[in-house]
């Protein structure tokens, strides 16, 4: 026994080696064979925390690079946004009809600027002369009449809204076809307008639709609004009716520009007639 102890102390390095080597191999094999989560790995608090700190520090070092990259990515993404693009293909809705010759064409446009709270309101659309828009064309949307084109640029056009003191649209009462002029009242209410110069023979009803007449630059039958009050102020020889406008001007997004293919012919003829007078 004594000799054994002497032997072990003499070669203690080797025995210590054996003990620790076997211990570490047991840990190694056990971990590898069972793939169990162990305390000795980078998920515990100390090692994981240290790695997290180091990663934070590394993050600071590359901030500039990351910023540049993000800025570039932002720019690239913004370029892909629909709102930053000028849509080049013009949507033209044309009704193909073999019996009737096409008189009206519609050019879809997006409203990019709008106002309703001035005395004279204009809205800007993203179509211009390049897309076939000319001054004086009518502008409508799905609900009714919006206005008419006042100025035309190459890519953009400015539309004189119905909410303008000079806007006058020929309208008619839907049931008895009496004609009058629609104009914006001077109380600057964006939801109301006046149908003036209606013949006294007309017997309008509240809620009767007001449509565009054949005399306007719009196709006949486009809604303007509904009669909301029968006796508006200024009623004299003619009836003045208050009309609730069909279009909600504060929420305009897309409009259609009306192309009247006979407009030039009509203008030329009417000009000749005036000359004759």
């Amino acid at each position: 026994m004594r000799n054994l102890l002497i032997f072990i102390t003499k070669y203690n390095a080797f025995f210590l080696f054996l003990i620790f080597e076997i211990a570490s191999l047991i840990i190694y094999v056990k971990y590898n064979s069972f793939q169990k989560a162990s305390v000795i790995n980078s998920t515990n608090q100390i090692t994981g925390g240290l790695y997290a700190r180091a990663d934070e520090l590394k993050g600071y070092l590359s901030l500039r690079e990351v910023n540049d990259q993000l800025a570039r990515e932002n720019a690239a993404l913004r370029n892909q946004l629909k709102s930053s693009k000028y849509v080049d293909t013009v949507a033209r809705k044309t009704v193909i009809d073999t019996i009737y010759k096409q008189q009206y064409e519609y050019i879809a446009a997006k409203v990019i600027n709008n106002s309703i709270n001035k005395r004279n309101n204009y809205l800007t659309i993203d179509r211009g002369s390049r897309d076939g828009i000319e001054k004086g064309m009518g502008v409508i949307n799905a609900n009714g009449v919006v206005g008419k084109v006042a100025f035309v640029g190459e890519h953009l056009a400015i539309v004189q809204s119905l909410l303008h003191k000079d806007s006058r649209v020929s309208g008619m009462l839907a049931y008895n076809k009496e004609i009058g002029y629609l104009q914006w009242g001077d109380d600057m209410n964006p939801h109301k307008a006046l149908l003036v110069d209606v013949s006294n023979n007309a017997q309008p009803k509240v809620g009767e639709p007001v449509l565009t007449s054949d005399l306007s630059l719009f196709p006949a039958g486009i809604p303007l609004g509904k009669v909301s009050r029968l006796k508006a102020k200024g009623t004299g020889f003619f009836l003045n009716l208050e009309v609730a406008l069909a279009v909600n001007f504060s929420k305009l997004e897309y409009v259609d520009v009306v192309v009247n293919k006979f407009a030039k012919e009509q203008a030329a003829l009417e000009g000749q007639e005036k000359k004759d007078e």
């Binding site: 203690n12 390095a13 080797f14 210590l16 080696f17 003990i19 620790f20 080597e21 211990a23 570490s24 191999l25 047991i26 840990i27 190694y28 094999v29 056990k30 971990y31 162990s38 000795i40 790995n41 980078s42 515990n44 100390i46 090692t47 240290l50 790695y51 180091a54």
Partner: protein, 172 residues
């Protein structure tokens, strides 16, 4: 005595941090990976008792394992390293000389001795480490090239750090 303990404690922490934060990310051509942390075991004083030497080696290996997610692997390699160190020192250094030469550093022991010491110990450690890690005879050529190039890299770093902390006045 307390100075020696403090020095070694600082060395332990610095080497572990250096290993897991910097050298863990360094790999040359997917072959050479330096394991500089074993320098701690190499630089322990000559008088370190064997028990303490093995315990420290085992702990160092486990610490590195904790960061490398390989429990037991580095501990086993470090334990082997401790044994090789004991044998190497008992062969090459006279026992009476311990008083004059407290630590096996480059500046105390001279370049030739330190280079041989570091090279042999590193070779043992790396050979055992890489083969235990792969544990497959079919990849032996890749493992051997990794082992050789990593050993060169590690020894190179050891010599650099030895020269970095070279103190001429201690040379006797």
């Amino acid at each position: 005595m307390s100075r020696i303990i403090l020095t070694n404690l600082v060395r332990f922490i610095v080497l572990v941090l250096l290993q897991v934060l910097l050298l863990k990310n360094v790999t040359l051509y997917n072959l050479a990976t330096p394991y500089l942390y074993i320098l701690f075991i190499l630089l322990l004083p000559f008088e370190t008792p064997n028990l303490l030497l093995f315990v420290l080696s085992f702990l160092l290996g486990l610490t590195i394992d904790a960061f490398y997610d390989t429990p037991g692997l580095h501990a086993a390699a470090c334990t082997l390293l401790a044994l090789v160190r004991v044998l190497f020192i008992s062969i090459t250094v006279q026992k009476d000389g311990f008083d004059n030469e407290p630590e096996p550093t480059l500046s105390i022991m001279g370049f030739r001795w330190f280079f041989t010491y570091a090279l042999i110990l590193t070779l043992f450690h790396h050979f055992f480490l890489f083969n235990l890690e792969v544990f497959r005879i079919s990849e032996i050529d890749y493992t051997l090239s990794r082992f050789l190039l990593s050993s060169v890299f590690t020894v190179f770093l050891m010599l650099i750090s030895g020269l970095l902390f070279f103190r001429k006045k201690e040379r006797k």
